[in-house]
């Protein structure tokens, strides 16, 4: 029992005195904001890159070919280097002014990283649709774009959504990395509390519970959406 009360006291100290719970909440708010905008940036970049990569397969335009090489380089570099290094480079390269809004810094860094993964998820989803579907559409006289938007994409989206959901879940977790560039997100705030109480484990456990709540919530929500979509579908 003695042990239990010690632990209880440690958590109490990490949560109640000096309204420390407000620190977690402000960190949580920051993490949510950064995640939200990072997802938007990730989708925007991901869709653009995927469009370039997919259309380069049938297009002969030299502009598309060049863009495709750029897109490939982007995906290779982002996926082949640690996010923490990317953040340090981007932060010190672009956001050198101390007055930069931390939400923007975090969202841009994480969004640029996520975009590469989103692009590959979308590309793989589109390429998983049998070539016969495109040929059937084209043979009826539909244009490439009409076939893509009315026949291929609606099928591809079913393959894309679950993978995209997983990407967003891991994005929320990975935003914690931006605490190294002094953005006051959930992880950073937990660290501050720990430095006040001289006991870092309880605040980090609390932060972990917050992350867990977010990812579980999101995966629940995605599961519901997937079920909804499955309802209207038949093979």
């Amino acid at each position: 029992m003695n042990w239990l009360s010690t632990v209880g006291e440690a958590f109490y100290n990490a949560w109640v005195p000096e309204k420390r719970y407000l620190a977690y909440l402000s960190g949580l708010r920051m993490t949510l904001l950064i995640s939200f905008f990072a997802v938007l940036i990730g989708i925007l970049i991901g869709v653009l890159i995927a469009v370039v990569r997919v259309s380069s397969r049938h297009s002969k335009s030299p502009v598309i070919k060049v863009l495709n090489q750029v897109a490939r380089l982007y995906v290779t570099v982002i996926r082949g280097t640690p996010m923490i290094v990317q953040i340090l480079i981007i932060y010190n390269l672009i956001f050198t002014s101390p007055s930069t809004n931390p939400v923007i810094v975090g969202a841009v860094c994480c969004g640029i990283n996520s975009g590469a993964y989103v692009a590959e998820i979308i590309r793989a989803g589109i390429e998983s649709i049998p070539i016969g579907q495109m040929e059937a559409g084209r043979s009826l006289g539909l244009s490439y774009h009409t076939t893509m938007s009315t026949i291929i994409l609606p099928q591809a989206i079913r393959n894309i959504l679950p993978a995209l959901g997983n990407e967003f879940i891991s994005l929320i977790k990975e935003t914690s990395v931006i605490s190294i560039i002094a953005v006051n997100d959930l992880t950073k705030m937990a660290g501050y509390v720990g430095s006040r109480t001289w006991d870092v484990i309880p605040p980090y456990v609390i932060a972990a519970l917050f992350y867990l709540a977010m990812t579980l919530g999101l995966s629940k929500a995605l599961g519901t959406v997937e079920k909804r979509m499955a309802k209207g579908q038949r093979k």
Partner: protein, 243 residues
């Protein structure tokens, strides 16, 4: 009769692999050309060059006197007049049978949705599946799916139909129902190019039979001559194996 589609010295290579090595053919309006040959001989590639699903490496494809394998030709407009039926059916799995049939005419503004629905009903009656309009392709047998694929192509009121081994992926008991529809279509005067292994169909329905072997038309004739008195030794060999 006038020529509907024509190829001039058509060649197609995939990398170093030459598949078509100079094919010059005319298909007249109303003609039913059946194309047979060993697998890998290039017969499907030839068919797919006619609506440019494969782009010829050299040579011309000429539709109603106009070269269509040229830049600036609106190939979508040409394809609207050439229906195609595939070995694997390629129906749109997320759409109902009715939507499969009406999608192209409506998207391409050939018909309103109401007109297309009427047309779909008509076509479904014609292929003997009037009660399947709201079914999804996955719920249907292969034979039914292929009949619907034919209806889908016919919904555009094409001048010509291309069939790429339409019965090769079917269970044997379903081959007949698909061939029956094709035969009916032929009797209605549709211009047809059919790649098939169904020699009975070739003999009965074809107005001309082509034997493609090693990328060229090795022999062509009326069905009676073609099957009754084959000249080319490779054709003789081929027929002895399949008949």
């Amino acid at each position: 009769m006038s020529t509907l589609i024509e190829t001039r010295n058509l060649k197609k290579a995939f990398g170093d692999h030459v598949v078509l090595n100079g094919i010059s053919q005319h298909i007249e309006k109303g003609e039913k050309v059946v194309i047979i040959g060993p697998s890998g001989s290039g017969k499907s590639t030839f068919l797919r060059c006619l609506n440019l699903l494969e782009e010829p490496t050299s040579g011309d494809v000429i539709f109603e006197g106009k070269k269509i394998n040229a830049p600036k030709v609106n190939i979508d407009a040409i394809r609207q007049r050439m229906g195609m039926v595939f070995q694997q059916f390629n129906l749109f799995p997320m759409k109902t049978v009715r939507q499969n049939i009406t999608l192209a005419p409506v998207k391409l503004k050939k018909m309103t949705q109401d007109e297309a629905d009427v047309k779909a009903e008509e076509l479904l009656k014609r292929i003997g599946l009037p009660d399947k309009a709201d079914a999804y392709p996955g719920e249907l047998s292969g034979g039914q799916q292929q009949r619907i694929a034919i209806a889908r192509a016919l919904a555009m009121n094409p001048d010509m139909m291309l069939f790429d081994e339409p019965t090769s992926a079917l269970d044997p008991e379903m081959v007949g129902e698909v061939l029956a529809i094709m035969k009916e279509l032929a009797e209605d005067g549709m211009t047809m190019a059919v790649v098939t292994h169904e020699m009975g169909f070739a003999r009965e329905v074809g107005s001309r039979v082509l034997f493609i072997d090693q990328g060229i038309v090795a022999e062509e004739n009326t069905p009676d001559e073609f099957f009754g008195d084959p000249q080319n030794p490779r054709l003789k060999d081929f027929l002895s194996k399949v008949l």
